[in-house]
Symmetry: C2
């Protein structure tokens, strides 16, 4: 299948008289596919001074029925004989540290791995399936986990699946695993890209995903089990089960639903996380307390970001402490006193600072969000969207399937650890 496609690239390039070559990359290129994966990635490389448009034309001709997608540049996605095929234009650069587009590095990765992975293919498959099973596979910004290339490099470095787990058991934040000398990068895990020493292959890996893998690795080594690779499907809780669990916790829940444009996850998730942090900050600045929060993206007819906040403190008394300047700063003191002429108590001095006790603007977290959430920055693509603020009662009344899945995952949040 792959070789057919590579052959077609050459044929069409010759017919059009353009200097293009096809390169098979990704797991299909080196027999490290996970079962169920049906992805074939073929790069169509134009010369460094060539035109990516030529490659795109070839892709379109190979797959007349296709979808055009965009990463840094346009590429063609098509379903061919049951496979998901990506036909990706790139530049055929000589030096991987001087790439012209982000995808130009991929053929180098592919070659580096192909030259070293022979005989270790099964080890890579085990590691990838383990990572998938314990929830850390994927270097997309939603997952923040391990890429396939990173898994391959780890197997090359440690020699086998089990030795990767053994190695990971003693990882600490900032661990460096270098197949080549490289730049002095600070990150939870640093794996210098052997084809580009300025680059950290594990750049997308978050601290928490890294240690989710470490914790699972330790458990597996202590008592190995098929469920690490193929965990039981989580049962989605019914609305009644959700209600009961929420009541048992005794907390308050607030759900923000924000209309979002139809952009890829890698664009929307970072913005949702930023919005989540801003809103948590707003709540805590006003004295409320967020126990935990999470985000979800619902793609239906429209796209909606869901931001869920569980509060341990959601209602506060009328009076609040307002701390003013140190008393030795006479000018600040005068201004402060003029600004608070009839406090509930004070001004008095606490620890050298002037303090007044004044009425609180928002006694309830839900009122604060309804009143103020529009005024804070929620990220480029979420700021303009309509926002609905749902209280616990409203959440529980409107539990559809996607919300049930989100709340189930939220309430059962758990990693493998022992």
């Amino acid at each position: 299948m792959s070789s057919d496609l590579l052959h077609r690239v050459e044929e069409i390039a010759a017919a059009r008289n353009v200097a293009c070559r096809g390169i098979l990359v990704g797991s299909a290129a080196r027999n490290t596919w996970l079962s169920g994966d049906r992805d074939i990635d073929i790069f169509i490389a134009v010369p460094e001074d060539g035109n990516l448009g030529d490659a795109l034309e070839i892709a379109r001709e190979i797959a007349p029925v296709h979808e055009e997608r965009y990463a840094e540049h346009a590429y063609v996605h098509a379903r061919i004989d049951g496979f998901d095929v990506d036909l990706v234009p790139c530049y055929d650069v000589r030096d991987p540290s001087k790439i012209k587009s982000a995808v130009d590095r991929t053929p180098f990765h592919s070659r580096y791995v192909s030259e070293r992975i022979r005989g270790l293919e099964d080890e890579v498959l085990l590691l990838k399936q383990f990572m998938k099973g314990v929830g850390v596979y994927g270097s997309d910004l939603r997952t923040g986990g391990f890429s396939g290339y990173l898994a391959e490099l780890l197997v090359i470095r440690y020699g086998s699946f089990l030795r990767v787990l053994e190695g990971a058991s003693s990882w600490r934040p900032g661990t460096r695993i270098n197949l080549a000398p490289g730049a002095n990068i600070m990150a939870p895990l640093v794996v210098i890209d052997p084809v580009d020493p300025k680059r950290n292959v594990a750049a997308a890996l978050t601290l928490d995903r890294m240690f989710q893998f470490v914790a699972a690795a330790r458990c597996f080594l202590r008592s190995p089990d098929i469920s690490f690779f193929f965990p039981l499907e989580a049962h989605t809780m019914s609305p009644d089960e959700i209600r009961a669990e929420i009541e048992r916790r005794g907390t308050e829940f607030i759900l923000l639903e924000i209309d979002a444009p139809d952009m890829v996850d890698d664009v929307l998730y970072p913005q949702m996380r930023k919005a989540e942090a801003s809103i948590k900050n707003l709540l805590e600045r006003e004295g409320f307390q967020v126990l935990r929060s999470d985000v979800d993206l619902v793609r239906g007819e429209d796209v909606r970001a869901r931001l869920l906040f569980e509060l341990s403190i959601w209602e506060l008394p009328s009076v609040r402490i307002h701390i003013g300047p140190p008393v030795w700063e006479a000018d600040h003191v005068s201004r402060f006193v003029k600004g608070h002429t009839s406090p509930l108590s004070g001004p008095y001095i606490d620890n050298g600072r002037l303090v007044v006790e004044i009425p609180r603007r928002y006694r309830k977290a839900v009122d604060l969000l309804e009143g103020e959430v529009h005024k804070i920055s929620l990220g480029k693509h979420l700021s303009s969207g309509r926002i609905r603020t749902l209280s616990k009662r409203e959440i529980l009344e409107g539990v559809d399937e996607s919300l049930a899945e989100f709340l189930t995952a939220y309430l059962n949040k758990r990693v493998r650890v022992c």
Copy 2:
């Protein structure tokens, strides 16, 4: 009156053939009495190798009807011709840096001031009355304010009442006002004792009292007014007024009443403040939030310490976050996991640490105090006392006169500042 008493000391000492001399100290010795004060302090000094008992005998003979009080040593307090007279045995030391008892320094202070205060008596009187009026006069541990000796030194240093206020206007924490070179002491205000350069005369002054004085000084200089010296008596709120004000704040109040032994304020107040801090700590460690607190001592037939806590958070949900070890500490992780086999949620990883969500032991602050306050250290003389924990309802039902005064002062807490 004073000279009569001094004469009596000499007479009795001669009759008993003991080498004692009487020394008039304090404000009576240098015409810096505040009106209303009727205190005469006479020290009865025995030779350095003498016996304080001899002096005490003389004091008893001078005032056959008296009360014996204890500071570091016993002394005689008596009411004579409408004056409150203290007759205090001390050692007649030569060098004030080599005193044998704390009171031995006083005659040196008295002499130092007497030799320099002539013509400035009215300035001292103004300053002391000002300090009294704005609530910062008294170096007892309850007040934490300015002693009479400190006020006198300030007048000597600055030259007049008004110049003291002007000087104080630019005080900052750690200000040094030295009439003599002295030790490198760290304190909110450092005034080296001219008769003992290792000693800070302002040692008892707290940061907040210091700046209460500074703030009032600035206000007075801006618009002087008799009320600084003689403030209006505060109206004690009625139980209904107290209830209304507490409702308006929307907070919870908890009052601890602890039986205390009949000790002087300077012994009990520091312990009450320590107990207050320990209890605040206990409450906040468990997730509750103290908005403000205060203590009071009620001396009636029995002595009771009152510890009042105003809470902005007094009830919490069932679930609470419990943060465990970093995941890279494998041994700690194992122990933590074994200790939390069925959490409400988790274990999961947050910021590299293992976290579980578990049931909270005390959902209400009042239950926490009833259950745990006996287990924390409340200071030597309060730990053994019976403790009553009163909720807001119980407080409001039992507002007697002393509690009304305490709550009035609490609710109207305010310093002069402009």
